[in-house]
Amino acid sequence: MPKIVAVTGNEAVAEALRQVNPDVCAAYPITPQTDMMQRFASFANNGKVKTEMILVESEHSAMSACVGASAAGGRVITATSSQGLALMWEVLFIASGLRLPIVMPLVNRALSAPLNIHGDHSDGMGARDCGWIQLWSENGQEAYDNAIQAFRIAEHMDIRLPVMTCLDGFIISHSIERIEYLDDDAVKNFVGEYKQLNPLLNIDKPVSYGPLILPDYYMEYRRAQAEVMTKVNKVVRDVAKDFEKISGRKYGLFETYRLDDAEVGIVILNSAAGTTKDAIDALRDKGIKAGLLKPRLFRPFPYEEVGEALKHLKAICVLDRADAFGASYGPLFMEIATSLYSHKDKPILFNKIYGLGGRDYLPDHAELVLNELAEVAKTGKVKTFKEYIGVRE
């Protein structure tokens, strides 16, 4: 029987990792992730998991050790945030290039400078093109569910790619929510036995990992990797269907909220989606037909499906919890714009940057945006295509 608990996001993800029971975990502390790996280390040292811990001296070594352990032939995890992910950056590409199904929760946090330990999406967005699959989570329940599904997606024989599961630092990682845990056996059966593919530890069949590939074949190798990405979308949906059978919870490529009959919409990632849904309810009562789309699979981005889901709207505001300096718009905005580009009748699009470095995103902010959307839908005019909200100008 599923168990209903009141736990933090970090605690819930640590529990998911315990239930999956991987072979090796590399861990290095960084706020706000620390608490997750601390809990997992406690499982390991109290015999609750079979996992061997590698308590490395940096995140660079954490990801390097994960690459070694995964190539060796087994299920491997680590977790990080912010600067830790930035330090791993080089090795992230190697993990995906070598097609190693490592699973890594990312507790989203702002990047330095200035130093800030609170939640925004700069870290995950900075690593969005590193060949990893990215799943984003609104709350502790989704973070828990995504962590479990990540293993099935990563290890699928059509995929064999690493997966990052993102949850908002502090807002979710350190807030206590009502969460439903699955039974240990249900999770164990769901993820199944790990299947090895060309394990380095098979000394009877020696393999070489990490060759030099020059211009004669490098591009074919990269092309093959791009091809794998095209298969992720279906696997994510299939895994979600199986997950629904054991959890009763529905997942897809993205979540929509009151979107079908909406005239205007907000696109937003992670925890701020919850606040936005409340604001949408409030404004619906006042006659504004608003809806929401919250991406779950951000890499590979489901352009076609997102475009189809949004194309009927008159106006859309994309809210980014990260800026892309030097680019015109935030990273999420650019994906939404691309999703709609091929459609003949496009909604009007504009972009807001919010919540950097853990700045609160309040219902007032959402209402302000929704009122502006209603105005834009009516007049067809946008005052500013991109601006910061909740900021002292």
């Binding site: 940096s58 070594s61 690459v67 070694g68 060796a72 090795v91 000394i203 020696p206």
Partner: protein
């Protein structure tokens, strides 16, 4: 105890780094790797830092490695191998693997002394059961002979060229072998391919010891050293005979110089055949020869004192 070396038996063993790789003719690194692998009485899984050895031995779709081999990046061969070794322990504990496997990292001096130093130090401190082998040619040879912290005093490299204002590298080398000994790991050794039997005995000894082991092995590079193509083994011998590269081991804190030159040759015998030291023989740079010789003398005397001192300590325990 490790099995004594038997030349007749060794000659029948398969060479695990095949020929046909693209290392330069006369390079000192491949013989070092072959000796290390030949010495092992166990199956070996290797990791390799980016560098000459790595780029030349596994160019897709070919590999010169007849053992499982992994290259990750430049600075993380130790961390990578620590992951492989940890997975091995995990699977062994679960009964999924029963074979006895040894783990060896091969890295150049740049990937060891400099950019890979943190990764190496961390892996040694964590106590992984692995042997880390540095093949030390004293510069970043793969990228074109740039100075590293292993580059000897005075050397002319492409980033510290012997110029009219600065006559080559003005700093002494980092004594990495001693730094690794200071980690308190059970076995640390320095070796030279000229003394092949000594080198291979050390590898065998190291592989019998559980825990982290480090070996620093000199590997002459005729391109960077600007020496004759076929002088790698000769130069590594002179390096030992001049005490530029003393060969010794430190087992559980007890230091033993494994081969002492009958007559310590002057350092100039090591420097003279190498173009990278040519400018040091110009009259205005003679002070450099003196400084270089003094450093060698000081280190050699200290090494002998350390040997005498640690010999008085408790004998090494198994």
């Amino acid at each position: 105890m490790a099995t004594p070396l038997n030349l007749k038996e060794l000659s029948k063993k398969e060479v695990l780094l095949t020929g046909g790789h693209r290392m330069c003719s006369g390079c000192g690194a491949p013989p070092v790797v072959k000796m290390v692998l030949l010495a092992s009485e166990y199956p070996v899984v290797a990791s390799n830092a980016t560098g000459c050895l790595e780029v030349s031995t596994c160019i897709s779709d070919y590999t010169a490695w007849k053992i499982p081999w992994i290259h990750n990046a430049f600075e993380n061969a130790a961390a990578t191998l620590s992951g492989v070794e940890t997975m091995y322990r995990s699977l062994k504990k679960q009964g999924k693997i029963d074979k006895e496997i040894k783990f060896i990292a091969f890295c150049g001096d740049g990937g060891t002394y400099d950019i890979g130093f943190q990764s190496l130090s961390g892996a040694m401190e964590r106590g992984h059961d692995m042997l880390y082998v540095c093949y030390d040619n004293g510069a970043y040879m793969n990228t074109g002979i740039q100075r590293s912290s292993a580059t000897p005093f005075g050397a002319d490299t492409t980033t510290c060229p012997a110029g009219s204002a600065v006559p080559g590298k003005l700093q002494q080398r980092k004594d990495l072998t001693k730094i690794m000994a200071a980690h308190g790991i059970p076995y640390v050794a320095q070796a030279s391919p000229s003394h092949w039997s000594d080198l291979m005995k050390k590898v065998r000894r190291a592989l019998e010891i559980k825990g982290p082991k480090f070996m620093n092995i000199i590997a002459p590079c005729n391109r960077g050293w600007r020496s004759r193509t076929d002088d790698a083994i000769l130069l590594s011998r002179i390096a030992v005979e001049t005490c530029y590269w003393p060969i010794y081991e430190i087992e559980n804190g007890v230091l033993r110089v494994t081969s002492k030159p009958k007559e310590k040759k002057p350092l100039t015998e090591f420097l003279k055949p190498q173009g990278r030291f040519k400018h040091m023989f110009a009259p205005e740079n003679e002070w450099m020869l003196k400084v270089a010789q003094e450093e060698i003398d000081k280190n050699w005397e200290r090494l002998l004192k350390e040997e005498a001192f640690t010999a008085q300590q408790e004998p090494a325990k198994e």
